[in-house]
């Protein structure tokens, strides 16, 4: 990728003798940017937010009280800027620029032709381009999906469960993916558990898990059984979904349930991958 397609306008041009505090304020509105520093009409350096922070007053209050305000307020851009900046032509490749920045320990390069400054490229810009390239290289199809369903008896929940399962099966078929069909069942209520003879609770729980597993297996159409595995867990629903997603390496979680339900919201906030709420 040529750097002319990646460069950005600089956050501005400052004179080397200008106050560092004023320059830092200009950078505050553009944290990923950098200022081009001129001195007497000649390019003198670049100033990034990190450079300004490093030279400016301490951000640690207990240290800042020992600094002389007269000294820190008297700092100029020249005191903080990176002198002898990395200058690259607009036709340079992004890898050339990244290599130059890494070698010289700079955070921003100036893009200039033989006449004038055209823009700047920061490490943030290069990192963004790298992320995009990595995402392009990712296999385009999904390979592992998780669908969380509820086996509750209410008609609304059953309808929602079938919608989520249908959507997940459809995506699985088209992507040639593996699907994990998950149901997380809550533990026995305390009143029921207390009413059971000692040692029976574990047996009841095992029986419930087996029943749920059989019920889930019945939901999977015959043609999808080779690509679908059933997972039944007990305990907190959100934790169960998140643990199952982590264990199976799910790339997408499909969830039914009441729209806007706390379980769906909480799963979205903590899921390791996107959630498709049906």
């Amino acid at each position: 990728m040529r750097i002319k397609t990646l460069m950005r306008c600089s956050s501005g041009i400052v004179e080397a003798r200008e106050s560092l505090a004023a320059a830092a304020m200009r950078l505050a509105s553009d944290p990923g940017g950098c200022l081009v520093v001129m001195d007497g009409g000649r390019l003198a350096g670049v100033l990034t937010p990190a450079d300004a922070r490093a030279a400016g007053p301490s951000t640690v209050p207990c240290l800042a009280v020992h600094e002389l305000p007269a000294f820190t307020s008297g700092l100029t851009v020249a005191d903080a800027m990176r002198r002898d900046p990395v200058i690259v032509p607009p036709d340079a490749t992004s890898s050339d620029v990244a290599h130059a920045l890494r070698t010289r320990g700079h955070r921003a390069a100036v893009v200039a032709d033989s006449v004038e400054v055209m823009g700047v490229v920061t490490t943030t810009d290069l990192l963004g381009a790298l992320v995009e390239r990595l995402e392009q290289e990712t296999p385009p199809r999904l390979s592992r999906l998780l669908v969380a369903v509820s086996l509750a008896a209410s008609p609304g929940r059953r309808r929602s469960m079938h919608t989520a399962l249908d959507v997940a099966l459809d995506i699985t078929r088209r992507h040639g993916a593996m699907l994990t069909l998950l149901h997380v069942m809550r533990g026995l209520s305390r009143r029921v558990a207390e009413g059971l003879p000692a040692g029976v609770e574990a047996d009841v729980q095992r029986w419930r898990l087996a029943e749920a597993r059989a019920a889930l297996a019945r939901l999977v159409p015959r043609e999808d059984r080779s690509t679908t595995r059933v997972d039944v867990r007990a305990g907190d629903v959100v934790e169960g979904v998140l643990n199952s997603a982590a264990t199976t390496g799910a790339e997408l979680i499909v969830m039914g349930g009441r729209p806007g339900a706390a379980v769906v919201r909480e799963t979205i906030r903590r899921a390791p991958c996107p959630v498709l709420a049906t």
């Binding site: 992320v131 995009e132 990595l134 995402e135 990712t138 385009p140 199809r141 999904l142 959507v167 459809d170 995506i171 088209r174 992507h175 790339e251 997408l252 729209p259 806007g260 769906v264 919201r265 979205i268 906030r269 899921a271 390791p272 991958c273 996107p274 959630v275 498709l276 709420a277 049906t278």
Partner: protein
């Protein structure tokens, strides 16, 4: 499987983190993607007795900047073979997204959940929550950070 996905983006285009997931989801079937940026309505800026800029002027400027960003996202999706349209609108993102989804015939909505922190979490309603609650079509929700990339 859905083939028409509305992607809701914000002014900082933080929401474009969901775009690679949309690309992966639609990859086997191809499809139509509608990129929608919803911005806060412009305000007239007055200093003393002088009007520095009118609401429509600030909206035009914001629309121009967002359109520029959108063009890059749309171009990459087109390169992948998707039919892409885009638009910038002003107003409440919930209402605008749901209206646009209905008008455009979206079969799913994709967005990034930008969770508010601190007191704002309790004082303001979450856009993603509201859209999930009211949307008649499935909603694909990603997060800004802490999530695997596509």
């Amino acid at each position: 499987m859905f083939r028409r996905i509305l992607v809701l983006l914000d002014d900082g285009l933080v929401g474009r983190r969901i775009v690679p997931w949309v690309r992966r989801l639609l990859a086997p079937v191809g499809g139509d993607v509608h990129l929608l940026v919803v911005l806060a309505p412009g305000r007239t800026v007055i200093a003393g007795s002088r009007t520095l800029s009118y609401a429509n002027q600030s909206e035009d400027a914001a629309r121009g900047a967002a359109s520029l960003e959108l063009a890059g996202v749309a171009a990459r999706l087109r390169d992948d073979g998707f039919a892409v349209s885009s638009e910038v609108r002003f107003g409440d993102p919930r209402a605008v997204a749901l209206d646009t989804a209905q008008a455009w015939g979206a079969e799913a909505i994709a967005l990034v959940d930008v969770a508010a922190r601190g007191a704002r979490r309790w004082l303001t309603r979450n856009v993603a929550d509201d859209i999930i609650q009211k949307s008649p079509v499935p909603v694909l929700v990603g997060r800004v950070s802490g999530q695997r990339s596509a």
